[in-house]
């Protein structure tokens, strides 16, 4: 029902993927991958505009019949993509924004760790816990 993913900019390979629940995972991965194109499009559209936190949140990338995809990009062009179930109408835009903000915060915490090389897969337990709690909260 919900998937989060983080992708690194230059090669667009995922740094972190998490789905809850775990069935249909492949479908979610595929959705996220295809939505990267939409994210890229939005980024290039922003272009010369200066990066601002409000613009970091890309909003609803596109809705399909089953689910909605939200995007968020950081200053360093790391993309966060979140897929949520359309039936979950309780999720408002603000909540999605706050979830992305939390993700971003945790991501910067990981970056502060000198043992983490940017571009590595993320194995941080703190990050895992945060993502899990967030997803439990939603589902």
């Amino acid at each position: 029902m919900e998937t989060g993913i983080i992708c690194h900019r230059p090669q667009n390979y995922p740094l972190y993927i998490r789905s809850v629940p775990t069935e249909n995972e492949l479908k979610f991965h595929y959705t996220v991958h295809t939505s990267l194109d939409v994210v890229d499009e939005k980024i290039s559209a922003m272009g010369k505009a200066m990066v601002d936190q409000r613009e970091l949140y890309l909003g609803l990338l596109y809705p399909t019949e089953d689910y909605k995809v939200y995007g968020y990009v950081t200053n360093s062009k790391v993309k966060f993509v979140m897929v949520v179930d359309s039936s979950n109408t309780a999720l408002r835009d603000n909540e999605i924004r706050s979830m992305f903000r939390k993700l971003h915060n945790s991501y910067t915490d990981i970056m502060c760790n000198p043992f983490y090389n940017p571009g590595d897969r993320i194995h941080s337990r703190a990050f895992d816990n945060m993502v899990n709690s967030m997803m439990m909260q939603v589902c």
Binding site: N105, C112, N113, F115, Y116, H123
Partner: protein, 639 residues
């Protein structure tokens, strides 16, 4: 006190008229131990072997005294089976942390733990769950044995031996976990360690020379040896620490460990109150040859404020975790309470003060004073962080203390600066919000203005500054305003700023405002950062140094803060007796000028507004004209 049935183990032991039941395993174990202690089938166990056994339980001598008393051996004069069993149960109780009393042994207790003596290195007492604990205690026991014998050599050789896995206990055994955790080839530290630990060993030996009373022969850990030297205060503190350390808390940092960590910290970063940066720490901890994911996890646990740098308590916690991992402990999921920076900082006071008594700890002494000041000031400033006016007083107070203070006069303002940064950073909200605002803010002026607009109303800014002197830099305003108007929205008037002419005094106040803003509850950190920028930007000629720093917004706030704080501390020191009335009258005047300038700015903006409205009307007219033309030219509309 009645004696239990002599000869054979008894299902129950009577003591003080109360039956104390023994479980199967306890019975077995106790009879084993009893037979060990008195090999020939005597009714009583030999005093020396019992003493050895009790020593091996690693309890402090007072406790062992108490136990012998309570179990009745003292009264009876020897250790009969009853006394022995009771004593064993009391030892188990004491090791679990219960007081030494008959009542406490009525409950089910774990079996008492005894250190494996050198002769019986393969025998392991205690439950299997204590295996980890035993691993640590084994080298300690062997060390004890060694030290008893080698009284003259001291233990200078001990620190030199490179530590292997703690399970192996050859004579060249690794130093105890408690004393010198592990040396990863950090050669510099060894000499320092030897100085420190040579002396305590010398100190301990005389106590063991006293014979006769069993108390002198009871084993003493170095912490306890120190305690026997000095007052009982430390004993009470050390007892729970040491017993807790050995029983079930490997996450407690002992004195030697702390000193070792502090020395290592000093070797990396001479200033005890500042940070170790991430890269430096990374190189350091990589030397420990732990795998990178584990080091990464240790960092996550210990860097509580997630700033990519380690303060002294954070460093101690990280080092302790590395040591624990090397010794075979699994890393916890969350940071244990005893490793929290607050706990470590509070704990660092007491032991350093007591260590001042010992000659052997002469090294940390100079370090302890600034540390004490640090924590004292931390406490005072932590309380006053929320109150700005009190903060101003605190600054002047601290600076007055500085000339009076004993050492480190220059260090105090710097400490204070670090304090304020760290105490602000340690607030739970600031943990998240502060770095966030830092990372999200960008360098452009427009964004600063935008951020200034977001909070409810701009006017609160002059209030924040407590109605002090303010003025506006008109040029800057016009520039910003025109830019803002072009981008489509009107910015609020920039915050109140001190007038240029009266630079000297208002400098101080503006610094104070900056400082106050730095320490404000982080719900307004975004506002603050923007306000700061605007304050600085509007004062380019008077504050070139600050401006230079401000332009690199992405930098940490610490370097930004330091020159401002230094200026601040020097200014109040220079003007320590500024009369308040002069300030208020100057402020009034400044406010009036500010009001006037605001009005002028308003007028300018209104004019601009009207001009734009005019243009808009004209454009509308043109549009209407064009539309009518289009209508005329278009052929008849299709239905």
């Amino acid at each position: 006190m009645e004696q239990g049935p002599a000869g054979g183990p008894a299902a129950a032991v009577a003591a003080a008229g109360v039956l104390v039941p023994l479980s199967e395993s306890e019975q077995q174990r106790y009879s084993e131990l009893f037979s060990r202690c008195c090999p020939p089938p005597e009714a009583a166990a030999g005093g020396s072997s019992v003493g050895e056994l009790f020593r091996a339980s690693q309890l402090p001598p007072d406790t062992l005294h108490q136990i012998t008393e309570v179990c009745g051996a003292k009264r009876v004069g020897y250790f009969g089976p009853a006394q022995f069993y009771i004593a064993l149960k009391l030892i188990a109780a004491a090791q679990s942390g219960f007081p030494v009393r008959i009542e406490s042994i009525k409950n089910e207790l774990p079996l008492p733990r005894f250190m494996a003596l050198k002769n019986d290195s393969e025998v392991r007492y205690g439950t299997p769950a204590e295996l980890h604990g035993v691993k640590f205690q084994t080298p300690h026991a062997t060390l004890e044995k060694n030290s008893y014998k080698r009284t003259d050599e001291g233990d200078k050789q001990e620190p030199k031996s490179p530590p292997m896995s703690p399970i192996c206990s050859p004579p060249a055994s690794p130093s105890t976990y408690q004393r010198i955790p592990l040396t990863y080839g950090y050669g510099k530290s060894r000499s320092g360690l030897e100085q420190q630990h040579g002396a305590p060993y010398e100190v301990r030996h005389p106590t063991h020379q006293q014979d006769g009373s069993s108390s002198g022969n009871y084993g003493a850990k170095p912490a306890l040896a120190c305690s026997t030297l000095s007052r009982s205060l430390s004993v009470e503190r050390e007892q729970p620490d040491s017993s807790a350390h050995y029983s079930d808390d490997p996450w407690r940092i002992t004195e030697e460990q702390r000193d070792y960590y502090v020395n290592q910290f000093k070797s990396l970063q001479p200033d005890l109150n500042s940070f170790i940066s991430g890269s430096v720490a990374k190189n350091f901890f990589t030397k420990s040859k732990l795998p990178i994911p584990e080091l990464s996890h240790i960092w996550e646990l210990s860097d509580v404020d997630c700033d990519g740098a380690l303060t002294l308590p954070e460093f101690c916690a990280a080092f302790h975790l590395v040591v624990a991992r090397k010794n075979g402990y699994q890393l916890p999921e969350t940071l244990p309470e005893t490793l929290l920076p607050d706990y470590l900082q509070a704990a660092s006071l007491k032991p350093l003060r007591e260590c001042a008594l010992f000659d052997s700890y002469s090294e940390p002494l100079p370090g302890s004073q600034p540390t004490r000041d640090f924590s004292r000031m931390e406490k005072t400033s932590a309380e006053e962080v929320s109150d700005n006016s009190a903060l101003i007083k605190d600054m002047s107070k601290d600076d007055k203390q500085a000339p009076k203070g004993s050492s480190a006069v220059k260090a105090i303002p710097k400490e204070f600066q670090h304090l304020t940064v760290k105490t602000a950073a340690q607030e739970p909200h600031a943990l998240k919000a502060r770095p966030r605002s830092r990372s999200y803010s960008s360098t452009s002026i427009e964004d600063a203005m935008k951020k200034g607009e977001e909070p409810p109303t701009p006017p609160p800014r002059p209030q924040k500054s407590h109605s002090r002197a303010s003025s506006l830099d008109l040029n800057k305003i016009f520039q910003q305003n025109t830019q803002a108007v072009r981008s489509g929205w009107l910015p609020p008037p920039p915050p109140a700023l001190p007038p240029r002419p009266s630079v000297s005094q208002t400098e101080q106040v503006s610094e104070v405002e900056l400082h106050a803003q730095m320490n404000r509850p982080p719900s307004q950190t975004e506002e603050n950062s923007s306000a700061k920028k605007e304050v600085v930007l509007a004062q380019p000629p008077s504050k070139p140094a600050r401006r230079k720093l401000r332009t690199e917004v992405q930098g940490l706030e610490t370097p930004e803060l330091s020159p401002t704080i230094n200026v601040t501390s020097s200014l109040p020191a220079a003007k320590s007796h500024l009369p308040v009335q002069k300030q208020s009258s100057k402020q009034k005047r400044a406010i009036q000028t500010a009001i006037r300038k605001n009005k002028e700015a308003n007028a300018v903006l209104a004019r601009l507004n009207s001009e734009l409205q005019q243009q808009l009307k004209e454009v509308h007219k043109e549009r209407i004209a064009l539309e009518t033309q289009l209508e005329q030219l278009r052929p008849v509309t299709v239905l």
